[in-house]
Amino acid sequence: MSGASLRRHLTSRVMTVLIVVLSFTAVLALVLILGNLLVKGASSLDWAFFTKSPVPAGQSGGGVANAIAGTILIVGLAALIGVPVGVGAGMYLAEYGAGRLGFAVRFVADVLNGTPSIVIGIVGWTFIVKPSGGYSALAGSIALAILMIPMLARTTEEMVRLVPHSLREAALALGYPRWRTSLKVVARTALGGIVTGCLVGIARVAGETAPLLFTALGNLNFTTSVTQPMQTLSLQIYVYATGPFDEWHRLAWASALVLMGLVLVISLTARWVTRARYGRIR
């Protein structure tokens, strides 16, 4: 083996090993978090945990049913508000957003994407909680929706841009009006990607705490009224983890495990949607 060939061989080996080590480091973080949660939280998962509301401080037992229901309600409502706006904005950016307005929308979305989530919480408090006279689940949903919209707009734009231009031309050549081309051909082709983007966005805001501290506030009782303060898993974890009782810490670990599981399920659904899409298209 000549010197040059040997060197190439060695470089290749070293780089491969390096990449493998780095990949494992990335995965290690997730494994450690999940493992830790499982070890400390799994033992607290029982029927009562999912069905009962919290008991007064100091007592043992009780669950986080209110927080689980609250998470699903607040995040669901946020998705209901955020998905149409975000996806619509993304479609606009990709299909019609070449002009000055498109530039402005894109710029605002990027700034909003980089805004710390606690700032969104304060905005929600200033513009919704204060004028409406109280904390509410709806205010929390709106704050999460504001967080979600720029993410969805940008991912939708990316996905729609991936649709080959030739498909648009083919549709236009058939006499499709522009709006129908966007809707029937472009959006439908990008649908898998758009749905994935939405699910990733939802999973992302499901774990948010800061925007909810100033809007949904939290609630120790079970409620489904969106005009009342409402508990979510993230708020529950925040309160329990910073509290003084061992019982609370135990419940915080379990809540974290449930929240993580919820996010994982959403992410897996996103993967499955993508798989189904590319599976069909090959």
């Binding site: 498909l167 031309e169 006499g175 499709y176 082709t189």
Partner: protein
Amino acid sequence: MVASANTRLRLETAHLTALFGQHRAVRDVSLLFPAHTVTAIIGPSGCLNRMHELTPGASVQGEVLLDNVNIYAADVSPVELRRRIGMVFQRPTPFPTMSIYDNVAAGLRVNGGRRRAALDDAVSRALQQAALWDEVKDRLHTSALDLSGGQQQRLCIARAVAPQPEILLLDEPTASLDPAGTQRIEELCHALKRLYTIVIVTHNMQQAARVSDYTAFMYLGSLIEVGKTNEIFTKPKVEQTEAYITGRFG
């Protein structure tokens, strides 16, 4: 510079100049496309005219006349116009989310055709015209992407002819096909000119010689020579044309 005046006129360009940004893609071209013929437009790569590009990005001087009406006139609806002109592109562009049936029916549905029986008839007729019917009749509702490249291109031809346009524009329709697929498309040109006026843009001189009745040779956006295909290829009048078809440049 007129191909023939004794057949019924359908499509004509008059002193057409088209600019794409700074690039002058078409320079002062006047051409006549007789009805129910195949006209081939040939020329070296990158010099071919894109007069069929009805895109907003192009600025156009001169006229393209369809039945003596300038298609660039303000009162001509581009959507309406596109329904009279069917187009097939270099690469097959089946809609990936639609079945074979829905692909062919797409142009009909957008025109308001919704009745199932009428759609069924039109789809099978279009697929037969595109010589694809026998291969797909048992799987009309499967994905169009399961077809081979050549089949996909014939599907695109079926999709283009389903709304029964008057003119069929083929923009290098065999550029991405193998010889067998190419041959089938060329056979289609012969069969379909009975029904449509066909314009085919091609880099392939043999293809122009095989399929067309008239040939227009373009160079750098200008029309160099146009005439009956057998005359262009046997005794061209312009030195440049002869040089190109004998392979001395291009």
